[in-house]
Symmetry: C2
Subunit: 183 residues, 2 copies
Amino acid sequence: MADLNIASARDRHPAPDPAGQPPEPSWDLIELLFFAYRDFVGDPDEVLAKFGFGRAHHRVLHFVNRHPGITVASLLDILKITKQSLGRVLKQMISEGYIVQKEGANDRRQRLLYATPKGEALAMKLAGLQTARITRALRELGPGAHEAARRFLVAMIDASGRDDVLRQIARADQLRKAAHQAR
Amino acid sequence: MADLNIASARDRHPAPDPAGQPPEPSWDLIELLFFAYRDFVGDPDEVLAKFGFGRAHHRVLHFVNRHPGITVASLLDILKITKQSLGRVLKQMISEGYIVQKEGANDRRQRLLYATPKGEALAMKLAGLQTARITRALRELGPGAHEAARRFLVAMIDASGRDDVLRQIARADQLRKAAHQAR
DNA sequence: TATTTAGGTCAGCCATATTGACATATTTTG
DNA sequence: CAAAATATGTCAATATGGCTGACCTAAATA
């Protein structure tokens, strides 16, 4: 078993592809992404099931919690699903008191979305599970592993959407920090 | 924009959590995993759609191609789905000539699965798309990025399944290399 | 010979997504 | 102000990919 990691580090890239031939696929990263992501999203599933929710609910709650007051349109833009798909899930979470809507102050057509305390608690619990996995993983690796993972994942995102994603994360962090200090 | 990356590298981890308080979630990696994985699996979708296939077909074809002669039971074990779910997809891919079954030599109850040349061509095309994204990403990062990504992803997998996954990848690489040299 | 194993299949259900057609309220524009 | 555009919601039908439960055959094994 110990042999597995050592031998593979050398063999993984047989050689710069012999001119002309299509390069050998990155089987390792392709498959590791599959398995890692499956486990990563699997953690919250048990908890969600107890509430009668699924992954769609998780995603909605997550981003509403991260972006208090987000518009329906922005949420659709992040999730890249249709209004109808969102509608089904959102209606449930509102009627069960995990999310509330407030009329926009400037634009009264908007229904700004907020997690309720109950909603925030669930969102934090789910994020906690995923964070535990991440923390466990990073602890096994050297320092700089967080930054390396972050860089890799950013680079894996479509160039067209990359800046939006980074801006979005930075903005949510800012908001959260401000809210924290206000306590 | 340039500011985004520089500032964030410092601010991301405000401090070792003040004793007692639950640590702040890893929002960045949680969200980057979501966006990165979405784009990663999105690449093959267009191609698959042209063949009337979906992601389920992709997964089946991928692992059959990677593990020529795999048993139905092993495939179920990797995919963690039910026989019935696999059946529907597999039946289609067999009837359309992307996969064939051969009776096991030792155990004639087994139906060993193989990708046909047509199936292999499709599998390689899909793997090529995902590899292109990975290669693009790694090219932007320093050397060692492949290994760092690999380590991170391995560490993100459930400890219980990790060795199986690594063995599985190593075995498939071996087989492939052998088959290559035989040409 | 009896039991277990490998695989297949039918039927019904659920979750999540889609397209397309409309409806309502509000804001913006000519 | 009237007309057009925008933000949101909703109904209906459909596709995909999962699931459980029940039951079947053929082959291996105890």
